[in-house]
């Protein structure tokens, strides 16, 4: 005989409930914060440093609208991922067809190769401070990245990088030590000033491009999908995203202040890592170089190990190729070819003799800025579709900010073209 079932023992005890709730919260915490930290990659540090050194505090005000835009955009990515359970590439493909997806992804690939080059440039620049020439450091960096991708336990590596990211906090201390004129800093933060020179427009596009990088939207959405955060957990996840965005821009703010206080008054132009490192001198004195190099090296390697992979995933997902790090070359040829060639090209360009590192870092971020409006337009269209998002479509304010950001970036791009072709067009420039 089959053993008789024991008497019903009442409903599930509540002991499981609170523990489960805590686990849920800890489990969903992460994508926003991690994305934010990857955001301050080599390109980010270089761009903010240049902004502070060349323009003083005069660009600080841009961080307020940029933070707002960043929060809105990242929140949209996360929401798209949580509600649809699909990546951005997939969604664009399913709703706007293959051709649009293809060209967008090609643009993303080009931009991300630029970003990978930038990460290796950051790595090379950091190790040059320690006196290691780039023909030694870059191949080592490329190998480490490849090893992390193929063999590494990603979760552990991610934690190590995240902890090392706290080195950015030194910028806050350094900015305080440099005794900036806080009255001046505050005034510039809340007092927008617009110029119309090509250099100024280029700078703004770079700042926006590095802060709201297109690939991060793909990456964040994919992380949300991978963590299987759904509509319910999303309420909590939203805070993770917002905290991450604010954190990114607080760091950016202090990098600009630190550079604005130490480099700008002396008219030091940033041509390489040595000059950028001077911003940490008030804090670290003669160790400034070491500290800066450590932060830059960590940021570069962190992003370099995520970027090629995230890009390869986005592209394969959108075009319907097989993808996965555990798949062999014959199983997923396009995927493997994509991330391998990104690492090889990224490292290879830096090895070309005479390639200037910091300009490369900066220009890759401008490329980000140029691509951003296209990605944003698709995101805005998708997030407003009731058939996909149901009640989670954008509110009016969100739409204003998102469309406004796209419009502003398009205007800036056109402005850049115009002022580059006819530099004397605006007499004020």
């Amino acid at each position: 005989m089959i053993a008789p079932a024991a008497a019903a023992a009442g409903p599930r005890p509540d002991a499981r409930t609170w523990r489960r709730r805590l686990t849920v919260f800890l489990a969903i915490l992460g994508p926003g914060i991690i994305t934010a930290n990857v955001d301050n990659d080599a390109g980010g540090i270089a761009t903010y440093s240049i902004a502070g050194a060349h323009f003083g505090y005069s660009l600080l005000w841009t961080l307020l609208p940029i933070t707002l835009a960043l929060i809105v955009v990242q929140e949209m990515s996360a929401r798209l991922g949580a509600i649809t359970g699909k990546g951005l590439g997939e969604l664009i493909r399913e709703n706007y067809g293959l051709r649009a997806t293809f060209y967008l992804l090609v643009a993303l690939l080009v931009t991300d190769i630029g970003n990978t080059v930038a990460e290796f440039a950051g790595w090379a620049a950091a190790l040059e401070i320690f006196g290691i020439p780039r023909w030694v450091s870059v191949p080592i960096g490329a190998f480490v990245v490849w090893w992390i991708v193929v063999k590494g336990n990603y979760k552990t590596v991610e934690k190590i990088f995240l902890i090392a990211c706290t080195v950015y906090l030194t910028y806050i201390v350094s900015a305080l030590f440099a005794r900036p004129l806080w009255k001046d800093v505050l005034k510039q933060t809340f007092h927008p000033r617009i110029e119309s020179s090509a250099a100024w427009i280029l700078m703004i596009i770079g700042i926006v491009g590095t802060t709201i990088a297109p690939w991060m939207q793909f990456y964040l959405q994919a992380s949300i999908v991978e963590k299987r955060i759904g509509a319910e957990e999303y309420r909590l996840s939203r805070w993770d995203v917002i905290v991450g965005c604010v954190l990114t821009d607080v760091i950016a703010f202090f990098i600009i202040v630190a550079c604005g206080a130490t480099l700008f008054p002396h008219g030091i132009r940033i041509a390489g890592a040595e000059q950028a490192a001077l911003a940490l001198k008030p804090l670290a004195g003669k160790w400034a170089g070491t500290l800066f190099a450590f932060g830059l090296a960590n940021a570069s390697l962190f992003a370099a190990s995520i970027l090629p992979l995230a890009t390869a995933y986005s592209i394969c997902e959108g075009l319907g190729f097989e993808a996965g790090v555990d798949k062999s070359w014959s199983e997923a040829p396009q995927f493997n070819a994509l991330y391998t060639s990104m690492i090889v090209i990224g490292a290879g360009i830096i090895l070309i003799p005479g390639v200037p590192l910091f300009p490369v870092l900066f220009l890759s971020q401008v490329l980000n800025g140029l691509l951003l409006p296209f990605v944003l337009v698709f995101m805005c269209l998708l997030v407003n579709r009731a058939d996909l998002m149901g009640e989670h479509v954008n509110g009016r304010v969100w739409n204003w900010v998102a469309w406004g950001t796209s419009a502003a970036m398009i205007a800036l791009t056109l402005g850049l073209v115009v002022t580059s072709v006819w530099p004397g067009l605006f007499p004020a420039a």
Binding site: A6, A8, R12, R16, L98, F102, V225, E226, Y313
Partner: protein, 414 residues
């Protein structure tokens, strides 16, 4: 099909009628392939469906209507119509033979006994290139679709579309496609798609396959799927699952909802599950199942064999059975092999192994795994402090703890 999208349709007098935006297919018709029933056409003012009967010529570069454009009926597209570009192109389908989720790059249309029908989906690079660059552009002026690019076609009878709307498109092979897959393969497919598609696939499975498929997935995903299904069906699937497995899934579902599901289950299955839910999932009590077989000590081997036969038919696994006294206290155990080897008239109390190694429900799961691995046990009985047999833990329940390898499928990003 991509060669026709965007093509200009002209009437008998070669006056433009509009451009092809999509192709409508028939529903509810029993034919081996989905039949094209009309063209979705957009002119300068509106979008309308042109019935297939009014199309005279349908060739690459030449699409003509049978009538003058003034005489054409402009029927607006209805909500429940199925369109190939909108509902199938660029979407995911399951390649039944390759057991893979793939994306549709293009669709192959053929004329079969006078009708234009959908015969296959192109999921290869050739279809992709054709879609992006058009049919006729290659560096050397040739047609790309003929170039030596890898082409992968999945015939209609080997693909399972995932868009919920296409459910009504089942042709002469209804429901059969997914049934050709092993539940473990279905689980593999499920782990590659997002929520909507997942629920869609699940709706198509019969309760038994659904239960087996669910068994292959991680508890979290199991819970997500069950939460999306109608409660009636979810509870039917839970009944089909072994009680311990069902309890694990219910543990992942939010309290209120889980209670509702248990209430919808058959009394007997519900009771077993409720009992198991009391235990922490990381203890012997949380691991154990209640599908075990017991006999009184006085039964002879022959009688036992007779009683065992009908039970063996629907037991989850049958490694050992247990000998208990009238209070349910565990006295001994016999493996099926030992039973077969024993003489017919031996009473069980002589043939059984005793004492039996057992654990109480509060013993930790890791300890259970250790015990089972150390003594090479396929099943371990669980008793209450008085020695009453209340459940068994089989090797399946702890195998995940024996190796650190993730056994189950989940969607992976990196």
């Amino acid at each position: 099909m991509s060669e026709f999208l965007g093509e200009t349709v002209r009437d008998v007098a070669r006056q433009p009628v509009g451009k092809i935006r999509d192709l409508a297919v028939a529903t509810g018709v029993r034919s081996p392939f989905p039949k094209i029933t009309g063209l979705l056409i957009r002119d300068r003012f509106e979008t309308f469906v042109l019935p297939w009967e009014d199309v005279a010529i349908f060739q690459r570069g030449t699409v003509r209507t049978r009538l003058m454009r003034e005489d054409l009926i402009h029927r607006p597209a209805s909500e429940d119509e199925i369109f190939l570009a909108r509902h199938l192109l660029d979407k995911q389908i399951v390649d039944i033979n390759g057991v893979k989720v793939v994306r549709v790059n293009d669709l192959k249309l053929d004329v079969v006994s006078g009708d234009l029908v959908l015969t296959a989906a192109d999921v290869g690079v050739r279809g992709l290139v054709r879609r992006v660059f058009g049919a006729g552009i290659t560096p050397r002026g040739g047609r790309l679709s003929d170039a030596s690019l890898p082409s992968r076609l999945i015939p209609w009878d080997s693909m399972q579309p995932l868009h919920p709307k296409l459910d009504r498109l089942e042709t002469t092979l209804p429901q059969e496609k997914l049934r050709r897959l092993h539940p473990a393969d279905i689980a593999d497919v499920l782990s590659q798609v997002s929520g909507t598609e997942r629920t869609g696939i699940f709706r198509k499975l019969d309760v038994e396959t659904a239960a087996e498929t669910l068994h292959e997935l991680e508890p979290e995903i199991q819970a997500e799927i069950l939460e999306d299904l109608p409660e009636r069906r979810a509870s039917e699937i839970l009944e089909q699952m072994p009680a311990d497995e069902a309890a694990d899934v219910l543990g992942e579902i939010e309290g209120e909802h889980a209670r509702d599901l248990v209430q919808l289950m058959e009394k007997e299955a519900a009771d077993e599950v409720t009992e198991l839910l009391v235990h922490d999932e990381n203890t012997a009590g949380g691991l154990m199942g209640t599908d075990f077989v017991t006999f009184p000590p006085v039964l002879t081997v022959k009688e036992t064999l007779q009683r065992l036969r009908p039970i063996a038919r629907d037991a989850e696994v049958l490694f050992y059975f247990y000998v208990v006294d009238e209070r349910g206290i565990l006295l001994g155990a016999l493996s099926v092999r030992e039973l077969l080897a024993a003489e017919d008239d031996t009473p069980l109390e002589k043939a059984m192994t005793t004492p039996v190694r057992s654990v109480t429900p509060d013993v930790s799961a890791d300890e259970v795994a250790e015990t089972m691995s150390k003594y090479d046990l396929l099943a371990l009985p669980v008793t209450d402090p008085e020695g009453v047999l209340i459940g068994i833990i089989t090797i399946d329940d702890v195998v995940d703890r024996l190796h650190d390898l993730p056994k189950r499928h989940r969607r992976r990003l990196r």
